[in-house]
Assembly symmetry: C2
Homo-oligomer: 138 residues x 2
DNA sequence: TTTATATTTCGTTATCTATCAAAATAATAG
DNA sequence: CTATTATTTTGATAGATAACGAAATATAAA
């Protein structure tokens, strides 16, 4: 006897809540906008924020778990990016990413963060991590 | 000397965060979907949820403060509704409401809640409030 | 293998938030 | 005016979440 197939177009309230909670935090919104044009490794991302790397890691993992980010491992580095179109079989995730992009496309914080990324991209990741360990912050 | 005019199209990160937080809660998502087809007064809304009316009131006020709901007073009743198009000068609010609607349009919880609203609409609000005071819940 | 290191996980703390009951508001009804 | 009542505000409490530093993982370099 055939069980009623789950409706693919039916986005559950629970999933919508997970997605909304995932984007309901300033740092995570900045993270998403930061990764929209290009992928970045964790050490490059940490450089943009004045937060502990464990904190950034937690945010990244939450976004990934919600389906809003993907990642790939390359050597010791882990690169985060927006999900590829092939990963976006889930319409709720796609709608959420479009919402974020539409809202924050021209936000001043987005511009500031992306300009900083441009400078970070010109550095060698190795030198970057070295500087992070050195900790010239205080 | 003319001060630089604030860019109307620039949605601040802060506002985006407020909107996302407003929507990042199951009860508030249900509230929005409940009020999408028609306005309802507070006592009708309370009837749908198994929560204290003070809790519902807090959720409604939060949504209203974010710009996601409007309200009008009629006698002792206060009716909540989606903002009229004329109130939607703010593109961020509009985008957020569209996002919620797209996500939850066909969610099963939305259907359930709306069917219950249909039954509630057939009752006299006066009888409804009486029943709520009477409290036949226990 | 041993060392170094990029990232995550764990344990803790402080802040935020959802909830309720009770008191306060505001508006009608008697 | 006084009583009733729909809604909001307040105060208190429990649960969720963001933050950090330290320990644990996993990979590359020596």
């Amino acid at each position: 006897m055939p069980v009623k197939a789950p409706d693919q177009t039916d986005v559950s309230l629970a999933q919508a809540t997970v997605l909304a909670k995932a984007v309901a935090e300033e740092t995570r919104l900045r993270l998403l906008m930061l990764l929209q044009p290009q992928e970045l490794c964790a050490c490059q991302i940490v450089e943009v924020f004045e937060l502990a790397n464990s904190t950034i890691s937690k945010h990244l993992s939450l976004l990934k778990q919600a389906g809003l980010l993907a990642s790939r491992k390359s050597g010791r580095w882990i690169y985060y990016r927006w999900p590829d179109p092939s990963d976006l079989q889930d319409p709720a995730v796609d709608l959420t990413l479009q919402w974020v992009q539409a809202l924050l496309q021209s936000a001043s914080q987005t511009q500031v963060d992306r300009e900083q990324v441009q400078q970070i991209l010109q550095l060698d990741p190795v030198a970057l991590c070295l500087r992070q360990r050195g900790g010239d912050c205080c």
